[in-house]
């Protein structure tokens, strides 16, 4: 399988939301988006965009699921926003039953998934956000699965040089 990826650079939270929205518009149920990035890199903001792209009404506020573990929203299809920040290991993840969301009729967005990549299904879209400075973020979308490759191909062209 070919590994496909595309790199974007956003210069504000609004641009991060916009990129999330572009991806959200291409998602269908059972898609999994794994969000990776340090605290404050903009994972929740990216998810706000994803939700918009998935047709979640804009008056619904997408907040951090760190406390509740999973927040559920309704758009074109369901959106399950999961955060494994509080969990201590794969066994916690399994015993909490969060794995079941991968097999439900909805899109799963998972924050802090990089702590145990082995829990992610192979069809996951990996979104890695890194902090460049106060406002600027590097955002890489990548994956190997055929479905992910298709989604990445349909994403808008990146404005920064050096897609790899």
């Amino acid at each position: 399988m070919k590994h496909e990826s595309i790199t974007y650079r956003t210069c504000s939270a609004l641009e991060t939301i916009d990129l999330g929205r572009e991806l959200g518009m291409l998602l269908r149920k059972s898609d999994v988006v794994a969000l990776m990035g340090e605290p404050g890199s903009g994972k929740t903001w990216f998810t706000k965009g994803l939700a918009l792209g998935l047709g979640v009404p804009s008056d619904i506020v997408i907040t951090s699921p760190s406390f509740s573990l999973v927040n559920e929203y309704k758009g074109r299809c369901a959106l399950f926003h999961i955060d494994v920040y509080r969990l201590d290991g794969v066994s916690d993840f399994l015993s909490t039953g969060l794995e079941e969301y991968f097999h439900q009729d909805g899109v799963v967005v998972m924050e802090w998934a990089d702590r145990w990549p082995e829990i992610l299904p192979e069809w996951s879209i990996i979104v890695t956000i890194s902090i460049i400075d106060d406002k600027t973020r590097n955002i890489i979308l990548s994956g190997r699965h055929l479905n992910v490759v298709e989604i990445i191909k349909r994403m808008p062209e990146s404005k920064i040089i050096g897609d790899f």
């Binding site: 903001w45 907040t63 916690d92």
Partner: protein, 343 residues
């Protein structure tokens, strides 16, 4: 009339007995903080199992303290949401069983309504209407409270809850859990104006909160601070803790004051775990006294999760003729707008 209030929505197992909506006969809280401490947060599966292990003991203890038998209670109030599903289920099913066996009604309570009403467990209470800020690890919301059961959301966090920001920054600084306590304690030895962290006010009119920008700023600052010898000799961990706390407190105080002004409310109330923070108490008191506005905080044991506030909400729901069917389920998401006013 005696109501048993039960809360298992997060990591504390709580039971309380409340007589006639005012007299607290007992208020027992079994905290799992020690258990979760090494993990730096709540572990849901552990939490759920602990609730199951503790609930009988906690209820028995609350009856013993009050000096009454289960047969003497007139109703049960239990939190059904929002919260962690596994944890909520233990409280709900325990309450259903007791209600069924003793043939008494049980009331399904919204945890946030409990927090808002917790101020009425005190002797000194506000008169309606007032502005209430409920601020904890999972919530940061401003309400216009016009009466029992009548809550209009004025603003809320658009990303992290204030308590969550405290927890995450405490983790970045290598401090313990819960983060609020650790940061406040350490911050006492630091100076709050040492680092100027951003105060996110969105727009002037908005009453919403955002703490993710602050979290980023602290994270970036810590990186810079750890990498620079001059900076790390000039600024202490305590300074960072104090400066971060100041940024959160400033935003909370400003928002409460503008919310009060916007709805022209004669008083302000602050509840939830973060309301224990002494810096928040002092700064809000100061700001409100200048404007001649009374501010109310419950004492710390009623700020953090407790059964008494659930019993109190249940008491008012019961007087209103409400009780839940045995088919009642938990609601991990339970917006306060779903509640009906109490007449």
């Amino acid at each position: 009339m005696i109501i048993l209030g039960i809360d298992t929505s997060c990591d504390d197992t709580s039971a309380a007995l409340l007589e006639d909506g005012k007299k607290i006969l007992s208020n027992v809280v079994h905290s799992q903080i020690k258990l979760h401490h090494p993990y730096g947060g709540v572990v849901p599966e552990l939490a759920s199992r602990e609730h199951l292990k503790n609930i009988m003991t906690v209820v028995r203890e609350s009856l013993r303290e009050a000096g009454i038998k289960m047969g003497a209670i007139d109703g049960i109030a239990v939190t059904v949401g929002p919260g962690l599903v596994g944890s909520l289920l233990i409280g709900l099913y325990y309450s259903k069983a007791v209600a069924f066996v003793h043939g008494i009604p049980f009331m399904a309570i919204n945890h946030l309504e409990g927090h808002i009403l917790s101020i009425f467990l005190e002797d000194e209470v506000p008169v309606f209407p007032f502005v209430a800020l409920t601020v904890s690890g999972g919530h940061t919301s401003l309400y216009h409270v016009k009466g029992y059961g009548s809550y209009t959301l004025l603003g809320q966090t658009l990303d992290d809850a204030a308590g969550e920001a405290f927890d995450k920054v405490a983790k970045m600084l290598g401090l313990g859990y819960p983060g609020g306590e650790a940061i406040e304690k350490l911050g006492q030895n630091g100076s709050a104006d040492k680092v100027n962290f951003p105060r996110a006010y969105m727009t002037k009119e908005s009453l919403d909160f955002s703490f993710s920008g602050l979290k980023t700023a602290v994270s970036l600052y810590i990186k810079k601070w750890r990498g620079s010898k001059t900076l790390s000799s000039d600024v202490t961990v305590a300074d960072i803790a104090a400066s971060f706390q100041e940024a959160v407190v400033d935003v909370l105080v400003t928002r409460v004051m503008s919310a009060r002004k916007k709805v022209n409310s004669p008083a302000a109330v602050v509840t939830g775990g973060v309301a224990c923070n002494n810096r928040l108490r002092a700064k809000l008191m100061l700001a409100a006294t200048e404007k001649d506005i009374p501010v109310y905080f419950p004492r710390p044991c009623f700020c953090t999760d407790n059964g008494a506030m659930i019993a109190l909400a249940g008491y008012h729901r019961f007087l209103n003729g409400e009780s839940a069917p045995l088919s009642m389920d938990v609601r991990s998401r339970f917006p306060i707008s779903d509640l009906s006013p109490i007449h």
